[in-house]
């Protein structure tokens, strides 16, 4: 492995993996990118723990204790941490549950919703405990850069990574700045 390559870790917390799909939409540009970067923990590698990295890309907000733990591990190990996509930046669609209490959400989904058989609120020890609200990642750890979009376009990803590879501060041009 080339030691001069930048190490990137990626994760999806309370997200839909749409940002990761959009990352892959860089298509043939991924080939150029891979000349400069290698992947550590990521759904792309299936590596489960994050090592020391140059760049961490975090998709999704923080909705449960496991999300918070992973996010803190990313912060501890990544020199530059980027909040990727609407959910990471402001909680996004999952944060629409923040209007209701956690108990109300659980009761609606597992007890009172339509078409429920054997109603019960799951309590398996394997399941990460839900937080009272869905939090933007920036309210849990320090974030260095933000990449808005739902998802951020492949162009936006490419723009961000090109800048970081060249050691520059990423500045998203207004024409590719989108929140939708």
């Amino acid at each position: 492995m080339n030691d001069t390559k930048l190490k990137i870790a990626t994760t999806s917390l309370a997200g839909c993996f749409g940002c990761h799909m959009s990352f892959l939409d860089m298509d043939e540009r991924l080939e150029t990118l891979l000349e400069h970067v290698s992947f550590d923990r990521s759904p792309f590698t299936d590596i489960k723990t994050v090592g020391t990295c140059d760049i961490g890309l975090v998709e999704g907000g923080v909705c449960n204790e496991e999300n918070a733990q992973v996010l803190r591990q990313f912060r501890a190990n990544c020199r530059i941490l980027v909040a990727v996509g609407a959910c990471a930046i402001n909680g996004g669609v999952p944060a629409m549950r923040n209007h209701f209490s956690l108990q109300e959400c659980l009761e609606e989904v597992y007890l009172n919703g339509t078409g429920i058989v054997n109603p019960q609120i799951p309590a398996d020890a394997e399941l990460p405990l839900l937080l009272d609200k869905v939090y933007p990642v920036g309210e849990v750890v320090k974030i260095d850069f933000y990449l808005p979009g739902c998802p951020p376009s492949a162009n936006a990803f490419y723009h961000l990574l090109q800048a970081l590879i060249q050691g520059k501060t990423p500045e998203l041009p207004k024409e590719i700045l989108h929140y939708d």
Binding site: G138, C150, L177
Partner: protein
């Protein structure tokens, strides 16, 4: 001094004005953009969004409410004012529930376009996630207070243009909210009609016309084709809302 030759300067543009015109009206007429959310040509100014704050001498004034004066030297696009406008816009985002990906107004939303214009990449401040009532009672008009930025445009449009009195802002500070003037407090019992300016002027997705959603695909919407700094954009926005309403 002949009225027709009065002028002031804004960021070194010379802007002529007629007596009684505000800084905003004269600047827009001269093709000079000053960021604004709660101002709309033809409706009395309110000065509540503060995005049009400009500097004249040692004072900061809202361009939409301040009468133009001959010889004024006005600064608008300074680093300081752009940063202040960005912070104000971030505060508008965190005080409501502005989830762009789930909002029908995305791409047509003036608040979102303002954030693009100001290069806003994050909300900076902690989210409030307030609980606000949705009013879906009206057969053709939808009111989602989550997205309301209290710009007061619907209140003024209803009173001044439609000749009705459908809306008001009640409460103060965090309790401020858009209320409906009807016996039940619901839109269904008000005399609001989807052709009223008050129903079409909302700069965000708080007041939407039902059964017209997603007629224009995301990616082909107003601010996918225009930037907010284009002059006379208000006319384009109204025209597009009217055509969607047909």
């Amino acid at each position: 001094m002949p009225t027709n030759h009065s002028s002031f300067s804004i960021d070194s543009h010379e802007v002529p004005f007629k007596n009684g015109q505000t800084i905003m009206d004269a600047a827009l007429a001269a093709g000079v953009y000053i960021p604004h959310l709660c101002h709309f040509p033809g409706i009395s100014p309110h000065g509540n969004c503060k995005l049009c704050t400009v500097r004249t001498g040692t004072r900061y004034v809202t361009a939409c409410t301040t009468p133009a004066k001959h010889g004024m030297i006005i600064e608008s696009e300074t680093k300081e004012l752009i940063e202040a406008r960005r912070a104000l816009t971030q505060m508008l985002f965190i005080e409501g529930n502005h989830i762009c990906p789930s909002c029908e107004k995305t791409g047509n939303c003036t608040l979102q376009a303002m954030a693009y214009h100001l290069g806003m990449q994050d909300n900076h401040f902690p989210q409030f996630f307030p609980y606000r009532e949705v009013d879906a009672s009206h057969p053709t008009i939808w009111l989602d207070r989550d997205r309301c930025i209290l710009c007061n445009l619907c209140v003024r449009a209803s009173r001044e243009i439609d000749g009705k009195n459908v809306f008001a802002i009640a409460g103060r500070g965090l309790d401020a909210q858009l209320i409906v003037n009807s016996s039940s407090g619901k839109l269904a019992d008000s005399d609001l009609s989807p052709t009223d300016l008050a129903a079409r002027i909302c700069p965000v997705g708080a007041i939407l016309i039902k059964e017209t959603g997603y007629r224009t695909p995301i990616g082909q919407r107003i601010f996918d084709r225009h930037t907010i700094s284009e002059i006379d954009l208000e006319a384009i926005i109204l025209a597009e809302t009217a055509s969607q309403n047909e």
